[in-house]
């Protein structure tokens, strides 16, 4: 089934998946060292396949909101790795002439709500705007299993269905919302049944199998772009780390994390490409070195950007102080 994906795409996916992994690790490294300015860190390690596969199906000006802990994957949508890291460590990207991963309409990034799920309507509104402006832009809007329960996400779906908007909704089910198991919130075996309640198509996919996600997203994106209206994809994956770095994780059953490490999407895809004869040990080492180098340089450049000054910040905002 995957055989019709061009080789360059397959290798691009590999490189991006690896890059995502290494950025996440770099964030952890910077966070652990302290003093960077990051107020906290919610890691996305092990879930990268979802966002990377989505980005591979989108154009630069399509609208896309990943899960909050997967924001760093937006490099695959076109943002520079330097800007990704600079966003995460709260540098003055504006003054540096860069692009924040929080709010950046040029790249289809329309803001990010700290009250999770409140941004659902933003991205659906962009799809409505695209329809009114008669462009072919579509929206992919993703939340975790937790925030997907929120009323504002529901209303955004109702809007997209009623107005037949080009939106692919996704739930990235990493089995936990903070300490709450998703099975304690949803009483159904297949979360994609949520779609049935809105009369739209829905399907679940192995969120740790990047090619499976790639193909499912491709199908739904195509449907949305051709006027087919909204749909839902549920990607089943796992949060390998605590909710935040420092989380004692008393809620985890013993051995669960270890089981899921075995399903890590990165070695899994690497093996697949090797089996397909598309990747050699030498390739792996070369790409690893290139990626590492790229990220190290980006991190260095990002760390060199000053923190925003009060004066610069205030210049960007309106209103009397």
């Amino acid at each position: 089934m995957n055989m019709d994906i061009p080789k360059e795409t397959l290798l691009m996916l590999y490189r991006n998946l690896l890059t995502a992994r290494r950025i996440d690790e770099k964030h952890y490294e910077i966070y652990s060292a302290g003093g960077s300015g990051m107020p906290w860190l919610h890691r996305g390690i092990g879930q990268e396949a979802v966002s990377i596969a989505i980005c591979a199906n989108l154009k630069k000006d399509d609208y896309f909101k990943p899960c909050f802990r997967m924001r760093f994957c937006l490099f695959a949508k076109g943002l520079s790795i330097k800007d990704i890291i600079a966003s995460e460590i709260v540098r003055d990207i504006i003054k540096d002439g860069g692009n924040s991963f929080y709010l950046n309409p040029e790249y289809g990034i329309l803001g990010f709500s700290g009250s999770g799920g409140e941004d659902a309507g933003f991205y659906v509104g962009a799809a409505l705007s695209a329809k009114m402006r008669k462009t072919d832009q579509i929206t992919v809007y993703v939340n975790g299993d937790g925030f997907s329960n929120r009323g504002s996400v529901h209303e955004a779906i109702v809007a997209a269905v009623a107005l037949n908007l080009p939106v692919v909704f996704m739930i990235e089910n990493n089995q936990y919302a903070m300490g709450t198991r998703s099975q304690n919130s949803y009483k159904m075996d297949d979360l994609s049944d949520r779609a049935k309640g809105y009369g739209m198509p829905g399907e679940s996919v192995d969120g740790n199998d990047i090619l499976a996600i790639y193909e499912v997203v491709k199908k739904h994106v195509k449907r949305a772009r051709s006027g087919g209206g909204p749909s839902l994809i549920v990607a089943e994956t796992y949060r390998l780390r605590g909710h935040f770095e420092g989380d004692p994780q008393i809620y985890r059953p013993k051995g669960e994390v270890e089981e899921w490490w075995k399903k890590d999407p990165l070695p899994r895809y690497q093996k697949k490409l090797m089996d397909m004869g598309l990747l050699t040990d030498a390739d792996i080492n070369r790409i690893e070195a290139e990626v590492k180098n790229e990220i190290n340089e980006a991190a260095e450049a990002a760390l060199a950007i000053p923190r925003p000054s009060y004066e610069d910040h205030v210049k960007t905002v309106i209103g009397d102080l």
Binding site: Y63, D92, I93, I94, S100, Y102, L103, N104, P105, L110, G111, F112, S113, G114, S115, E118, D119, A120, G121, F122, Y123, V124, G125, A126, A127, L128, S129, A130, M132, R133, Q137, G151, S152, E155, A156, V158, A159, A162, L163, P308, D312, H313, T316, V317, I318, G319, D320
Partner: protein, 331 residues
Amino acid sequence: MVEYAQTLNYVSAIGTAIMEEMRRDERVVAWGQDLVSMRGTFGDAPGMIDEFGGDRIIDTPIIEQAIAQMAVGAALAGSRPIAYIATAGFLSVCFDTLFMKMGAMRQEFSYKGPMPLVIFCRAGVGGGFGADHCTSTEALFMHTPGLKIVMPSTPYDAKGLMKAAIRDDDPVLFIASGPLYFGTKQFVPVEDYIIPLGQADIKREGTDITIVAWSGMIPKALNAAEILSKDNINAEVVDLRTIVPMDIEAVVKSAKKTGRLLIAHDAMKRGGAAAEIAMKINEVAPDVVANLKTPIRRLAAKNLGLPRNRELEAELVPQIPDVIQIVKEMV
């Protein structure tokens, strides 16, 4: 010379403003509940729904959170949306987006780009329909970062301010006054005019006391002023027109002239806008305050939820006799 060609009521003035802006700029679009199906929202702006309905004016289900949120996304995506939330009381149903996102988000992320959108709603005090339908909520948005608030009291102002709101690159909350919707008609110029946000207007000149008010409180203040004039009390009525940004200079100037300052609003007193205005004047013009003939006072609704009962509501919310009484106490 201004050519007066149309006599419009308040709601039709708003509809006309929106229609003219939709003709001028194709990015201007509107959505909300029953805009098209029931046709009444924009008054009798002629041909509006025939011209734009279903295409650039669309009906949505009862999903206020999405209605407001979609405005944020569409504005960032290049449209200039007008999102209709029927009642100012229902703003609390989509409050997170209004309070934490619409104005605050660009500031949160140091984002310089525009977010041109208008939230259009109607404040309903006067009907006795209960808390949700009648509560005046502007004080909540005064405490909201980055959101402009427009509350006109006449058809002329409503048209000019709606046009300014639509052309503004920041999010604007336009709270129309329900009780004024079908009130006195006014000659409204056919040609294009805007009233810049942040300019108060003296609706009645006077010498003895300044009454600062806006929206539905303006006719009550003017009525009271007429009655007071028979007792030789000459009240000046300052219509703020926009709450944020606020034309505090106009208030100071008037208070300096009359020597007395009353701030009146339909909303509940505790934590209401009057307190902020009074404090602001103390901050920017302590000398003027020091020279007032009597301390600044406020007239506002009792600190209670509005009842489902027109007469009780009228007891809680300031009426013309209440304005007269407090002015007499002050003069």
